[in-house]
C-alpha cells in the first residue's frame, strides 16, 4: 500500500511536466493546426531562464578583505554579489535564494516574446504546408535553439537549487497513518505539482470563462466561420501561441531544481510529450492533461523493483508501449475528438 502511494506521488511531478508541455502542444495544434517539434526547446529555454536569473543574481565583484589572510599572508579576496551590495545583505541573500521562483516573473515576458516571434516569423508561413514540412522546420528550429543554449551555457547540466525552505522532504506517510520515513516526498516536487495544477486550472478557466477564450474555442471548432464573423482570429491564435510558449517555459523554470537543466532536456521531454499528446488524443486539452499524469504515474510504477523483476526493462519502454497499444486500439486517443487529424 505504502509503495503504491509512494509511486503515485513520484509519478505526479514528472506527470505534471508532461501534462504542461502536452497542454501547450495541444493548444498550438488545436488552434493553429501546427505540429510543433520545437516545443521541447521552449521548455528548455524556460529552465535556462531560471539558470540565467540565478547567474545574474550571483554576479559578484571581488574585494580584498584586510582582516582575513590566506596562507601566504595576502589579504583574502571576498566575493560579494552585486544584489547584496545594492539591496543590503539580507535582501540580497533572499533574492539569490529565491531566484528560481522569481524567474517565473522574469520568464513570462521572455517566453511570450519568443512565442510571438516564432509564430509571426516562422510558423505563420507554414499553415498551408503539409504536416511533414511543419514537423521538419520546427525540428530544425529545435536544433538551432538547443545549440544556441549549448554554446552559451555549455554542455554540462547547471545545478539550480530550489529555495532553502523547500529543500527538505515531507513525511507524507505520517499524515496517512503509516510509519515515519516510509513515504517521504521532497517539498519542491509538491510545489511543482501544485504549481502545475494552478497553471492548468488557469488555462482552462481562461478558455472557458472569458470572452477571449470563447472566441478561441470557436476558432478551434471552425476557423473560417469565426473569420467570416469579422473577428481577427489569427491575432488571437498568435496570442494563444505566446500563451502556450509561456506554459512550456514556466514548466521548465519550475523543473530546474528537480533536474539540473542541460541543453538536450527539451528533446528528451519532447518525444515523451508527443507520445502523451497522441495518447490523450490529438487536439483534446483534457486528454493531454489526463494522459500526462497517467503516463507519469505509469512510468513510476514501472520503475518499481517488483515490476522490473517480472518484466525486465519495462521502466524504459512503458510509455512507448502504452502509446503503441493506444494508437492501434483506440486510434483517436483517450479523449480525441472526431475529425481531428484523422486520415
Amino acid at each position: 500500500m505504502d509503495a503504491i502511494i509512494l509511486q503515485i506521488l513520484n509519478g505526479l511531478d514528472k506527470g505534471s511536466a508532461y501534462a504542461l508541455i502536452a497542454l501547450g502542444l495541444t493548444l498550438i495544434f488545436g488552434t493553429l493546426g501546427v505540429v510543433n517539434f520545437a516545443h521541447g526547446a521552449l521548455f528548455m529555454i524556460g529552465a535556462f531562464c531560471a539558470v540565467t536569473l540565478s547567474k545574474l543574481f550571483n554576479l559578484s565583484f571581488e574585494t580584498l578583505d584586510p582582516t582575513k589572510k590566506d596562507f601566504l599572508g595576502n589579504p583574502l579576496k571576498v566575493k560579494t554579489p552585486y544584489v547584496q551590495e545594492w539591496f543590503g545583505p539580507d535582501v540580497g541573500a533572499w533574492l539569490i535564494d529565491w531566484s528560481v521562483p522569481l524567474a517565473i516573473l522574469f520568464s513570462i515576458p521572455i517566453m511570450v516574446a519568443i512565442g510571438f516571434v516564432m509564430e509571426r516569423g516562422l510558423i505563420k508561413h507554414f499553415y498551408k504546408r503539409p504536416h511533414a514540412d511543419q514537423i521538419l522546420v520546427t525540428f530544425g528550429l529545435a536544433i538551432v535553439l538547443q545549440e544556441i543554449i549549448k554554446s552559451n551555457f555549455g554542455a554540462n547540466p547547471v545545478p539550480t537549487p530550489a529555495p532553502e525552505v523547500f529543500r527538505g522532504s515531507f513525511d507524507f506517510g505520517v499524515l496517512l497513518g503509516f510509519d515515519p520515513n516510509v513515504i517521504i516526498y521532497p517539498y519542491w516536487r509538491m510545489v511543482y505539482f501544485a504549481f502545475a495544477a494552478v497553471i492548468i486550472g488557469g488555462v482552462f478557466a481562461f478558455l472557458q470563462f472569458t470572452t477571449f477564450g470563447m472566441v478561441v474555442r470557436a476558432g478551434m471548432a471552425d476557423r473560417a466561420t469565426v473569420g467570416l464573423l469579422g473577428i481577427n482570429i489569427d491575432k488571437r491564435f498568435t496570442i494563444m501561441f505566446g500563451l502556450a510558449a509561456a506554459v512550456a517555459g514556466l514548466a521548465g523554470v519550475m523543473y530546474a531544481p528537480i533536474n539540473s537543466p542541460n541543453y538536450h532536456m527539451g528533446m528528451d521531454f519532447l518525444v515523451l510529450s508527443f507520445v502523451v499528446v497522441v495518447v490523450g488524443g490529438m487536439g483534446s486539452l483534457p486528454g493531454a492533461v489526463a494522459a500526462g499524469f497517467l503516463l507519469g504515474i505509469l512510468e513510476s510504477f514501472a520503475s518499481m523493483n517488483e515490476v522490473k523483476s517480472v518484466i525486465p526493462g519495462i521502466d524504459q519502454i512503458i510509455i512507448y508501449l502504452v502509446a503503441i497499444v493506444i494508437l492501434l486500439a483506440r486510434p483517436r486517443g483517450l479523449m480525441g475528438r472526431k475529425g481531428v487529424m484523422e486520415d
Partner: protein, 394 residues
C-alpha cells in the same frame, strides 16, 4: 543499358564515375598546401559518404515515394550493425555473411515495425516509428545488454567462438582475405591519393543500391507508391489496397538501412546503441530533404553534403579562423571570428539546424530543385540528371 532508359543510364554512369574517382576528385588540393584542409579524400570520410548515401537512398524510397515520414529509421541501421558484429563474433571476420545477415535481420525487424506502424498514417505514423526506435534504443541500453553490450558497445573479443576462424586468419574485417583496412597510396607530385579497399566495397554496394532504386522508381510498383503519396483515398476507391505497397516500401528501405549498418560495422567492427537514437533518425531525414526528397540523385547529394560539411566545419577551430581572417583589421576580425566560431567546431550542429531550416523554408525540393532553378535562370535546357527527377515532396 541494364533495362534503363538513356537518361537513367546517364545518371547511373555519372554516379558510378563520381564514386570510382572519388579518391581523386575529393583530393583536389596538394597534401601539404593550406587548402588541403578542404580535402575529403581519406578513407574514413569517403566510406561515410557512400554508407550514408545508401541509408538515404533507402529512406527516400519510403519518404520520397510514399510520403510516409519515418522518424525511426536509425533503429534499422543499429540493428544491422549489431547483426554484423555478431557475425564477426560467431563466424569470422569475413564481411559477406555479416552484410547479408544485417540486411536480413533489419528486413525482418522492419516487417514487424512496419506491419504495426503502417496501420496509421500522417503524423501518427511518424510518432509510432519514433516510439519503436526509442524503445529499441532504450532496450539496447538496458535489458538487451547481453545482446548489445550496453554502453560499451558491441565488439569482438579474443575469447569469442569465431568458429570459421583458422589459425593465423585475419583479425580485421576482410572480404575473402582482402582486408577492408588495406589501401593503396599513390603520390603524384605534391598530391597524394588514397585508394582504400573498404571504400570501394561500399561504393560498389552503393551503386547496386542506387541501380535498384532507379529500377524501383521506374517500375509499376514505384508508380503505385507515388499514387499512395498523391491520393491514397482515390487509390482505395479504384480497388487497390495500399497496405502491401507501403509495407514493401518500408521493408525495402529498412533493408537499405540494415545494409548501411552492416557496412558501418564492417569498416569498424564496433556497434553502439547511440546509432539508434532518434537524432540519428533525424539526420537521415535531413540528408534526404537537403538533397531533394523524391528525386533519384537527391539523397546521395544530401548525404555527401551533410557529411562533408560536418567534417569541414567541426574541424575548424579558433586558431585556424585567426589564420584565415588575419587580413582583416583587428576591430573587424574579432567580431567576425566570434560569430563564425559559433557555427564551427563544437557549434557545427547550429549550422546544420540553420541550414536545414533554410532548405525547408526556401527550397522544399532540396539541392536538386536549387540546381533546376539555377539552370532555368540561365535559360538553358536542364541537364538530364535533373530533368528526370520527380516533383519535390509536398
Amino acid at each position: 543499358m541494364l533495362g534503363l532508359n538513356r537518361k537513367d543510364t546517364a545518371i547511373l554512369l555519372v554516379v558510378a564515375a563520381l564514386a570510382i574517382f572519388a579518391p581523386i576528385i575529393l583530393n583536389l588540393f596538394p597534401a601539404r598546401s593550406e587548402l588541403a584542409f578542404f580535402n575529403a579524400g581519406y578513407p574514413d570520410l569517403m566510406q561515410r559518404f557512400v554508407i550514408f548515401g545508401i541509408f538515404a537512398i533507402g529512406f527516400n524510397i519510403l519518404f520520397g515515394l510514399t510520403g510516409y515520414l519515418s522518424f525511426g529509421h536509425a533503429a534499422f541501421l543499429g540493428v544491422g550493425s549489431y547483426a554484423a558484429v555478431w557475425m564477426f563474433k560467431l563466424l569470422n571476420y569475413n564481411v559477406v555473411p555479416a552484410i547479408l545477415l544485417s540486411i536480413v535481420v533489419a528486413g525482418l525487424f522492419s516487417v514487424v515495425i512496419g506491419w504495426i506502424s503502417l496501420r496509421r498514417s500522417g503524423i501518427y505514423f511518424s510518432i509510432l516509428t519514433l516510439a519503436f526506435a526509442e524503445m529499441s534504443y532504450r532496450l539496447a541500453y538496458s535489458v538487451l545488454t547481453p545482446l548489445t553490450n550496453g554502453e560499451t558497445g558491441l565488439q569482438v573479443y579474443t575469447d569469442d567462438p569465431q568458429v570459421l576462424m583458422q589459425a593465423g586468419g585475419h583479425i580485421v574485417p576482410h572480404l575473402f582475405g582482402l582486408e577492408m583496412r588495406a589501401r593503396e597510396v599513390i603520390d603524384v607530385g605534391p598530391w597524394q591519393f588514397v585508394f582504400p579497399v573498404g571504400y570501394y566495397l561500399c561504393a560498389i554496394l552503393m551503386l547496386v543500391s542506387f541501380y535498384i532504386s532507379i529500377r524501383i522508381f521506374r517500375s509499376p510498383f514505384g508508380l503505385m507508391l507515388r499514387a499512395i503519396k498523391s491520393n491514397q483515398t482515390r487509390m482505395t476507391y479504384t480497388g487497390l489496397n495500399p497496405k502491401p505497397y507501403t509495407l514493401a516500401a518500408f521493408v525495402i528501405s529498412g533493408m537499405y538501412a540494415g545494409l548501411a549498418g552492416g557496412l558501418l560495422a564492417s569498416m569498424d567492427p564496433l556497434a553502439g546503441a547511440e546509432r539508434m537514437q532518434w537524432t540519428a533518425s533525424g539526420e537521415v531525414v535531413i540528408m534526404t530533404i537537403l538533397g531533394g526528397a523524391g528525386t533519384l540523385i537527391g539523397p546521395i547529394l544530401g548525404a555527401g553534403t551533410i557529411k562533408y560539411l560536418e567534417n569541414v566545419f567541426s574541424k575548424m577551430n579558433e586558431g585556424l579562423l585567426h589564420k584565415w581572417f588575419a587580413f582583416l583589421p583587428d576591430w573587424v576580425e574579432s567580431p567576425v571570428i566570434w560569430v563564425v566560431s559559433k557555427f564551427t567546431g563544437e557549434g557545427w550542429h547550429l549550422m546544420l539546424g540553420g541550414l536545414f531550416m533554410l532548405v525547408i523554408i526556401a527550397l522544399p525540393g532540396g539541392l536538386v530543385e536549387g540546381g533546376q532553378r539555377i539552370m532555368r535562370l540561365f535559360g538553358r535546357k536542364p541537364k538530364a540528371e535533373t530533368r528526370t527527377s520527380t516533383e519535390p515532396a509536398e
